[in-house]
Assembly symmetry: C2
Homo-oligomer: 169 residues x 2
């Protein structure tokens, strides 16, 4: 897909572009999570991020299936949004001195990334349904539900497992 080449002519093309976007994004997330896990201190947070890394790899496998169902090779496309979100997460982490404050910052960055994925999967599901691609909707819905659950778990880590409270005290 060339830049500004007007290659997206139909909603099917748009769906395929969106799938390539999230495919690239999931790969970038899988690559960046280990460094984020290394920086985290709170045990519930590191455990949550480790679990999500395993989930992310399974999500990529589901996307492989989605491409296959549509008769395309799995492929990514540059996604400046996820690149920006990860860059912001790394720059913020580099600014924070205190370990407990760093945990709070990591939760916030991870939740911004989760929300990006929630937005994209929600959109992709609506597009796939409109186009009658019921065979890929279930894969995308499983990924969406995992992202929502990961976001809820991060809320719990921040609010109930003491991450925010320790950093504020």
């Amino acid at each position: 897909m060339g830049l500004f080449s007007k290659d997206i002519k139909t909603m099917g093309d748009l769906l395929l572009h969106g799938l390539k976007d999230i495919y690239y994004a999931e790969h970038q997330i899988a690559s960046s999570l280990p460094a984020m896990i290394d920086k985290a201190t709170n045990r519930d947070l590191t455990k949550g991020l480790q679990d999500h890394l395993i989930e992310t790899r399974k999500q990529i496998e589901r996307l492989d299936q989605v491409f296959k169902k549509l008769g395309h090779e799995p492929r990514g496309v540059d996604c400046p949004a996820i690149d920006g979100l990860i860059k912001e997460a790394n720059e913020l982490a580099a600014e924070v001195e205190d370990k407990e404050v760093l945990d709070v910052a990591i939760v916030g960055s991870a939740q911004a990334i989760e929300h990006y994925e929630i937005a994209r999967y929600g959109t992709l599901i609506a597009w796939a349904e409109e186009l009658g691609h019921d065979d890929i909707v279930r894969f995308l819905t499983t990924n969406l539900n995992e992202e929502k659950a990961a976001n809820t778990k991060l809320n719990t880590v921040a609010m109930r497992k003491g991450v925010n409270r320790k950093a504020a005290s």
Copy 2:
């Protein structure tokens, strides 16, 4: 705030950094919405984006109040996440030939931006509450509720006002 200078030492510093991030983001959104409105065709979509531009300007005024309450000058800080989201929205729009498919793409891009703001305001409210800054929570909550409502309205435009259906047919 210098890059990698470890200037964030407390959770209060982190809150202030987060406020500067969303302040910059809201300004970038206000600057980019007019071009997005120009590209849209569907009337419900253009009206929704126009309404949200007016809301965004009011949200910036509320953030001015938040900085004032905390005794700081309103200031932004580079936010690679929103820059990436807007860049992706513009690049995608430039790729789409058909006007009805472009409307669908614009809804998706706008929802990704809304989700970023929803994530950030949610985090900022939790941090402000933890720090006992009840005086700024109500401003941030008003902004959060407007972002959620804007996202819901975009869902309605896509699913019930025929934007997705027309592009798929």
